[in-house]
Symmetry: C2
Subunit: 282 residues, 2 copies
């Protein structure tokens, strides 16, 4: 596997970098961003927090707007932010170029329906191909945590709940908590997976948490002034699922905060310290 460096910016004593690589899983060229804390330059193999972004985002939004590098540098944690869908010519988009499906909206699923199934395999990309690449190319350990926002909060919870042995902790901001029961989720899952609702449940954090026997710690922050709270996000479904299965979920309602990166920036430090506390030997 080969990666090509696109940009390097020094940041809090470490490096914020972008790379391009050809993804076999997605069948296209992909870009990701990585923050390497100062500790990674001095021989240490640092743990990695994967960040999955929301609708319309690329690998850049989180790295530019969340202000995570300061605490990642202090704690010695690398952060990897992939793109939110396959990209490039030949990758089909929503016929109406809607923001909530197609390019920028891969929903972190393995599509089974034409024409999406050829490229839209973001679940396997995030779970398998990207970590293998990161762990072969950079000074990182195999300790992983995962977090994300909105569609990416959904992705983080789904990926962690289905792969409890691969992550030490999971967190999310404003996740789409019950996509089988909201318009964003129904549109995406219906198009990517077709009518087989059985398969949808494998990409629904509330369904997965209700059935989970894992004790991987989970932290979720949700703003009370989020425009998407009632119709799309439904954190109460996640809370109910955790109560049913006894899953260790900490769900925090944050008074007055909305769906923006101003919200994420306000609480990302808590999430980084939460993940650091759950890594071994950090």
């Amino acid at each position: 596997m080969e990666v090509e460096n696109i940009s390097s910016n020094k940041s809090f004593g470490g490096w914020n970098k972008q790379y391009s690589h050809f993804s076999d899983v997605l069948g296209c060229q992909m870009r990701f961003a990585i923050y390497l804390p100062p500790q990674a330059e001095h021989g240490a193999k640092v743990p990695v927090l994967y960040w999955l972004s929301g609708l319309t985002c690329t690998d850049e939004n989180f790295m530019h707007k969340a202000g995570a590098q300061r605490v990642a540098a202090e704690l010695g944690i690398a952060i990897v932010a992939p793109d939110t869908s396959p990209r490039g010519e030949g990758v089909p988009d929503d016929p109406e170029a809607a923001y909530d499906f197609g390019l920028g909206a891969g929903f972190y699923v393995n599509a089974t329906q034409a024409p999406w199934s050829k490229h839209y395999q973001m679940y396997d990309y995030v779970v398998k191909e990207l970590p293998a690449l990161i762990e072969s190319e950079f000074a990182v350990s195999d300790q992983r945590a995962i977090s994300g926002h909105s569609m990416g909060g959904h992705g983080a919870l789904v990926v962690a709940l289905r792969n409890a042995q691969r992550y030490s902790s999971v967190s999310a901001f404003s996740p789409i908590s019950n996509p089988i029961n909201c318009p964003w989720g129904q549109k995406a899952l219906g198009n990517y997976l077709g009518d087989d609702h059985q398969s949808w449940a494998q990409y629904d954090a509330s369904e997965l948490m209700r059935a989970s026997t894992s004790q991987m710690p989970a932290l979720v922050d949700q703003g009370s002034a989020d425009n998407f709270l009632v119709e799309q996000l439904q954190p109460e479904a996640l809370q109910a699922a955790s109560s049913q299965s006894g899953y260790p979920l900490e769900l925090r309602m944050q008074e007055g905060y909305d769906h923006s990166y101003f919200f994420i920036a306000s609480f990302i430090e808590d999430h980084l310290r939460f993940h650091a506390a759950n890594f071994k030997n950090v």
Copy 2:
């Protein structure tokens, strides 16, 4: 004077807001951003840090990318970020729409040459009209500091050096330190001010600092890996000027950092604490 609220996002317990207002000085509708720390909601009149952005920026770049709100919330400082030029239909732009002149590139001068002089009066806007507006509309005191980046670092230094009684401290990231002697400065000053080089010196931080008798503290950070360092920024001119006049300038070269907001984010905390230390009774 009337301001119209455009956006409000809760951020670190305070509020990040955007407003639109008609500027008499600029003869057009203008937008600015303001961060109001939590203290401003509880009756305190907080001091204000004005932030002047660089070429191509609007009122948004700093508020989205610098990560300043966290420390501003802690210290109880409001931050105001104006746009970088007059805007709107009827405001002339560079005929070639170059990034370094015209819209997004007002250089914080009062233009004297047609067709620029009708709208391009950013110096008066920043020094007089905007602070008057801010101090009448928000819970802020008349304690002011000023900072900026690149073209905005130039603007901050010029504004502070010419108005020592109005600001308690000044700082800059990667300022255009000697615009009368660099291509960006010569293009802008030549177009906005014409051939009268006497008038250019009033907008040159090094010329002003060399002649200054003020003791207003100044902090400047400059990245050593900045692509514009040698040709456009020339911090050595500022250093020489401060040595000649005995001006209290702290110029710090930051090894490996570039011209981006990753650099600003890495050191903005230092600047906020520097300004806080120079406000009275904060």
